[in-house]
């Protein structure tokens, strides 16, 4: 479904992605973790080309996204993306946030789009908020709407870029629950997160990134109980030590 072939990217002198090779199979849930500044966010943003790459190839659903001839808009329409800061459209109601892209990009009519949006809102438990505006919602609710917005395009892949990092602790659970349900429904997912509980429970594979390189790639059970690499060990130690 997604395949990275020796991908490099530089920000000026900084080598943010240094020879990434990675594959995500259909229906697979891959969690990407790593210390901050490791390049994991950049990595996930290259999949739908919110970040361009300097070298290598990224194939999504059989299309090379770095090829200038690829229709990026069509590709992005098939790849849902959930941001750390939700990025809902503040000027539109919850319902309109979800219906906007199906209507404008796919040409769906308003009635069908509304119906679909309500279904999705029910799925994320927010049907009663369809007429609210983003600023009236809590962070957790906003992120659930953002997931519904992503699903409205009926994507083949969902990408999550630290979806819970900006949330108050008590709201993290509700978002993870929605993500877990989604994973169980068979969605192909690539998730950048520090939520190791989620990784352990839901992920098929954990990818550990540091200094722009994939250092370790393993089944969650192996990764958490028996990390191979020193940096991964250190990372896990820090992550699991409370109040650090």
């Amino acid at each position: 479904m997604i395949r990275f072939n020796n991908v490099h990217k530089w920000f000026k002198d900084l080598h943010v992605l240094n020879g990434i090779n990675l594959q995500v199979q259909q229906g697979e849930v891959v969690v990407v973790c790593g210390p901050s500044g490791s390049g994991k966010s950049t990595l996930i943003r290259t999949v739908n080309q919110l970040e361009s790459i300097n070298e290598g190839e990224i194939w999504v659903d059989g299309k090379n996204v770095a090829d200038p001839k690829t229709n990026l808009n069509a590709l992005r329409a098939e790849v849902g993306f959930v941001f750390q800061h939700f990025n809902l459209y503040p000027h539109l109601s919850v319902l309109d946030n979800i219906t906007l892209s199906p209507m404008k990009v796919k040409g769906m009519d308003r009635a069908a789009a509304d119906k679909q949006a309500v279904t999705l809102l029910e799925r994320v438990g927010l049907a009663h908020k369809k007429d609210a505006f983003p600023a009236m919602l809590s962070g957790g609710q906003q992120q659930r709407v953002a997931i519904a917005r992503g699903l409205a395009m009926e994507p083949r892949v969902m990408l999550f870029d630290e979806p819970t990092s900006a949330l108050d602790p008590e709201m993290i659970g509700e978002v993870l629950k929605v993500m877990k349900d989604l994973a169980e429904s068979g969605m192909t997912m690539m998730v950048v997160t520090h939520e190791m509980g989620f990784a352990r429970e839901v992920a098929d594979r954990v990818v550990f990134v540091d200094h722009g390189q994939i250092i370790e790639e393993a089944h969650p059970e192996h990764f958490f109980t028996n990390p191979q690499h020193d940096r991964a060990k250190q990372f896990l130690r820090q992550l699991l030590t409370p109040m650090n």
Binding site: A77, G80, F83, P90, S101, V105, F133, A135, R149, G150
Partner: protein
């Protein structure tokens, strides 16, 4: 000061047909509104397009818009008016020139010149406001729009501009008021708008203070109405759950 006040002056005959001086103010106000409103609409359209251009990744387009802003913002309005009124017509084809200068009613040709001049001048200022509005939006907004597969025009139309315009309503209001004040340059090419009619009345009656007091009052009421209108618009488009518009 031994000034001779006479507030009845506005109801006196101008000596031209059956006109009284008040008629001059009414017609002056009419021209002022006609100039400012039309120029404003054109300025909003052109300024928005330029403002969007300035934020585009395309270097050529944003360069054109930047050059436009520099040119039109830095040349004094009066100079621009004289260029549009006296110089530009001389570069038109011969027949158009004759039509513009002689066959067209002079008030109409002055009107066209001043509307073009004010619209292009104000467009440069609107452009900067629109650009600032767009750039003030969180980067995540364009990322979110692109991520669902919007094209660039769709992103501006549905996501960026509706938010940017809400942010810039206050500075746009002040540009809107400015264009009404700036419309008084029209008097310099013989268009009898409010200020011209005021000066005219002052000159003819020698009741200068009455004339300018009335003009002050009219400009004041006009400005107040415009501000009331704009704050109504601002309230109308305010986003529920947000204080004072989008952020």
């Amino acid at each position: 000061m031994n000034y001779n006040w006479d507030w009845n002056v506005f109801f006196k005959s101008t000596g031209i047909g059956s006109e009284i001086y008040l008629d001059w103010f009414v017609s002056g106000l009419g021209w002022t509104i006609a100039v400012a409103l039309v120029a404003w609409i054109v300025a909003l359209i052109i300024g928005s397009v330029l403002g969007v251009m300035r934020t585009l990744p395309n270097k050529l387009l944003s360069g054109i818009a930047t050059a436009y802003v520099e040119l039109f913002r830095n040349v004094p309005l009066l100079v621009q008016l004289f260029i549009w009124y006296f110089m530009v017509p001389d570069y038109l084809p011969e027949s158009t020139q004759v039509w513009f200068k002689q066959e067209l009613n002079p008030a109409t040709s002055a009107y066209i010149s001043v509307v073009v001049c004010l619209a292009l001048f104000t467009a440069a200022r609107v452009c900067e406001q629109v650009r600032t509005g767009i750039q003030a939006l969180p980067k995540g907004q364009s990322a979110a729009a692109l991520a669902v597969g919007f094209t660039l025009p769709q992103m501006y139309r549905h996501v960026l501009l509706p938010q940017a315009f809400r942010i810039i309503i206050p500075p746009l209001t002040s540009e809107f008021l400015n264009i009404f004040k700036n419309s008084s340059v029209a008097s310099l090419i013989g268009l009898m708008e409010l200020l011209a009619q005021t000066k005219q009345t002052a000159e003819f009656t020698a009741n200068m203070f009455e004339a300018f007091t009335l003009a002050t009052l009219i400009y004041f009421v006009l400005n107040m109405s415009l501000m009331t209108f704009m704050s109504w618009v601002e309230k109308k488009v305010r986003i529920p759950g947000m204080m004072g518009g989008a952020k």
